[in-house]
Symmetry: C2
Subunit: 234 residues, 2 copies
DNA sequence: TTGGTTCTTTGATCTGGATCAAATTTTTGA
DNA sequence: TCAAAAATTTGATCCAGATCAAAGAACCAA
């Protein structure tokens, strides 16, 4: 079914920690799976029964209030790990934003395998620590940044992530990229309304900081200006 | 110097994963250390050279913008782990809110020890996953909740954490507790101003949902009402 | 005990971003 | 190819929470 040798994220995903033999075993417990854009992989509060690696596509992790307010709390790109090991319930909803291919494992199978392969578990730890740092950075944006700063930070961030998602050797941020989602999702990432997102983008484009050739296409024309607006701390 | 046998957080901290022999070794590389209230343990951007367990006291983790805007991105209570292993720089500032006692390790020493003791590393992973879930929950609050909902959520959350910090057997949330910090810090946790925090608290007290006997003391009088106001999802 | 310093509350006003409403533009699918 | 639906932009107005200002309270240190 799944064949790790030809997996495009093999070296970037956690499986990169494994040698050929180990990979064979992992292969036997993993399943390639396809999600249509818009399809939800797991719901907040669900029993935690599966975990997975993203092979292709983009997913959003969300938390929401019962009156419909939603916050995107994370994005998962190819090679990222999704799901919640070592816990009986998942705390956020995972939904495919584009058509998505994942390599999924039963949580039990994964945990057992990880237990026998400390290298793998170590990779998971390193990734989790990175994600925690990122989440905490985002808290500064959500709690303290203005709408203009939020948009600028978002665009810089996406330009860097698009680079990662692309080729594995060079990690140059791209000044031209396509977003895998629309305005409402941007609003849900930044804790804003769709109207404010639209107005801020129009503004950036009017001031020639960015160009917006298509609904989901972004060209950063003046990166320095954008970085200055973003008020980044690092 | 440090003696793990008499450490009050021995069973709740990550060292709980170790047996007597392992603890002896850990003991040799760890140092008890004291921080005065207000003292900063590590600064955002610093080289990551030490990690530690909190023994007593409370610390805040913060990110800030250079114009002074600050966001508290985490709190560390007794038995919590602070610092950033497997990364050359720390991404947030760690500051003692009260007089604090910690058990610190050189990052190198800790990483080497963790490498030889998968149990310990596993504990760190479980903790990190929990913290990530918490951070993401907080993102919903920061991005989408109203001031009133933020205060209610905060009070419920603190009442639960005060329980944890107390005795190790019973985890009953406390309806009476003292905050280890003032109004400005609450504002920095919730992404609000100090004035809004003050007004919302006055309001809750006027509506007899809580009682505020001292500047930092809270008594939850109507927990159901508070939970309803908080709009919790779980 | 007092006078200063810091923290908190309260009041008045302002404003950034939300809300409400209505075009445009883009996408879809028959 | 052409409506109908969906997504985005633009405009007008509103309001939750910020800002500005000042008056209490609590907490010192001498």
């Amino acid at each position: 079914m799944s064949v790790c040798e030809e997996c495009v994220v093999r070296n970037r995903a956690i499986c990169g920690a494994l040698d050929e033999d180990e990979l064979q075993i992992m292969n036997r417990i993993g399943h390639k799976q396809v999600l249509k854009a818009g399809q939800t992989f797991m719901w907040e509060g669900d029993d935690s029964t599966v975990v997975a690696n993203v092979i292709d596509g983009v997913l959003k992790l969300t938390n929401s209030l019962d009156d419909g307010r939603e916050q995107i709390v994370g994005l998962a790109f190819p090679a990222d790990f999704i799901g919640r090991p070592y816990q009986d319930h998942v705390k956020h909803t995972v939904t495919a934003l584009t058509d998505t291919k994942i390599c999924s494992f039963s949580r039990n199978g994964f945990e057992q395998f990880a237990h026998e392969h400390p290298n793998l578990e170590h990779k998971v730890l390193e990734r989790t620590l990175d994600e925690l740092d990122q989440a905490r950075d985002w808290m500064l944006l959500l709690g303290r940044k203005t709408a203009a700063e939020k948009l600028a930070t978002f665009l810089i961030n996406m330009s860097e992530r698009s680079a990662d998602a692309g080729c594995s050797t060079s990690f140059m941020p791209q000044n031209r990229f396509s977003l895998p989602f629309g305005r409402q999702q941007i609003a849900d990432i930044l804790g804003l309304t769709i109207e404010t997102v639209s107005r801020q983008l129009t503004d950036l484009s009017r001031r020639a900081v960015v160009d917006l050739p298509g609904k989901r296409d972004v060209v950063i024309k003046d990166r320095d200006a954008l970085v200055a607006l973003a008020n980044l701390q690092y």
